[in-house]
Symmetry: C2
Subunit: 252 residues, 2 copies
DNA sequence: CGTGTGATTGAAATGCTTCAATTATCGTGG
DNA sequence: CCACGATAATTGAAGCATTTCAATCACACG
């Protein structure tokens, strides 16, 4: 009997899980963009400029730059990343339509942002944004809520990277993207991947080769089908969900 | 010539790195606890209760519980964790002396908190805390700053889990802990690990066995020496720093 | 002293990375 | 529209990293 390491038993897992899945993990979470009232959205749009970016465009901003603008995604997708000392890049989060990003950290951007596909952004000068906050306390609360939301997102990412193997991480990403009508056609079960395998790898904490192999594995298991590199057909959503749990290494 | 995947070149890495390391990654970052003014700290302490926890104690709180209190670490160390659907636990962050944690997420705790060793906490009722914020706008700002700080910490964790192998993750943790005078005696170069290999594994996203092996490897490389399972001697700090970079798999 | 727990070590198997080569896809110009 | 070149994506093969199951060792505590 190996009871060593059974430090596990000191928790009350079942109850926790039940409650947690009601509230925290539910996939149909509200996007943070929805946290702004219609009036706030109008105020913001009135002082915003629409900016167009293509995949080949320069960065929207780069870590270390002075932060003069805040952005909201109108369409497309933005990758927010940071580089390690060794010069390797990790994508921290993808910003989807409705998401707001680019808040200054002591006056500077902490991360880099770049469009992963053709993308339109609303750009708001930070000076005007903070002015707006001074007049509308609700707006200040919205900023706080947004940062709190980002924190929860980041914690979810830590869970994924800490507990799941690459196959499960990809499944998680696919299921995540499926909650966005911008990318998933629920009728036809077609999911558009607006990013390269390279970006995907940097998000999942792996290499493009492994992404390709794992993609092939999900296809072999008949969970998805690759129509083209950037277009998937979802064959078995429940199967994808089921693949998330379990251990990091299969039993045989 | 394989130029495929050389999407790398689209960045301005050197400059980024230089600037980043001045500000963002600097190890001597201020702990968030220092963000409270002395007066705020006094206000808080006047409405706080000191709570003592031992390693064998119940959780301080559990994910999904109604959130009635916020906590600050007086001494010891608290692990903040969350359980996956499969029931596996990931430690998101360790709270050190001076850190504040347990902010409600829509009235509930999003994570679980438990002492990893004998620990003393200041406990403040959330109702009084929010009352205090109503009177002292600075306090509100401090809360925001704290959440923003937690976000940056979480993002740093994503970098570690996404880019580093287990050996590098452990080195990162050791270097991190060394910045805390509570745990590191810089004179004698002795670092106290106030937690079990099990907790360490759940933090690093691996298993206790691998932690033990990696610990042995750092010792073989003469970077550290194990005095006892919970007490290390730091033999080569610069070597630890150097081990962080590089690829995930050694070149030969 | 046992006993139980935490920590380490062993051995086998699998996952992942790496380097290399091949195939597919996309954009562009003829 | 097709051909072409460049880039993206996939596949192969070898080797290292990590997990897993199992066994052993160390140590604190009754």
């Amino acid at each position: 009997m190996t009871l060593a390491f059974d430090n596990e038993l000191d928790d009350h897992l079942p109850q926790i899980r039940a409650r947690r899945f009601e509230r925290i993990q539910s996939r149909s979470r509200p996007r943070a963009g929805n946290l702004l009232t219609p009036r706030q959205q109008t105020s913001l749009k009135s002082i915003s400029t629409i900016m167009e970016y293509r995949r080949s465009s320069e960065h929207v901003f780069t870590e270390g730059d002075e932060a003069h603008f805040v952005y909201a995604v109108a369409s497309g997708m933005v990758r927010v990343s940071r580089c390690s000392e060794a010069g390797r890049r990790q994508i921290l989060i993808f910003m989807m339509p409705g998401d707001v990003f680019g808040f200054p950290d002591e006056g500077y951007y902490a991360n880099s942002a770049k469009a992963v596909c053709d993308t339109a952004l609303y750009r708001v000068p930070w000076s005007q944004f903070s002015e707006l906050m001074r007049h509308e306390p609700d707006m200040q609360m919205s900023l706080f809520t947004r940062v709190a939301f980002d924190l929860r997102q980041a914690q979810k990412r830590i869970m994924v990277l800490g507990l799941q193997n690459v196959s499960q991480r990809l499944a998680t990403f696919i299921l995540d993207l499926m909650t966005h009508a911008d990318f998933y056609d629920a009728q036809k079960r077609k999911l558009a991947l607006p990013l390269s395998r390279f970006d995907l790898a940097e998000y999942l904490g792996t290499t493009p080769e492994t992404v390709a192999r794992v993609m092939a594995k999900l296809e072999k298991d008949n969970l998805i089908q690759r129509i083209s590199p950037r277009l998937l057909e979802i064959r078995n959503e429940a199967g994808l969900e089921r693949s998330l749990g379990g251990r990091r290494r299969a039993l045989n």
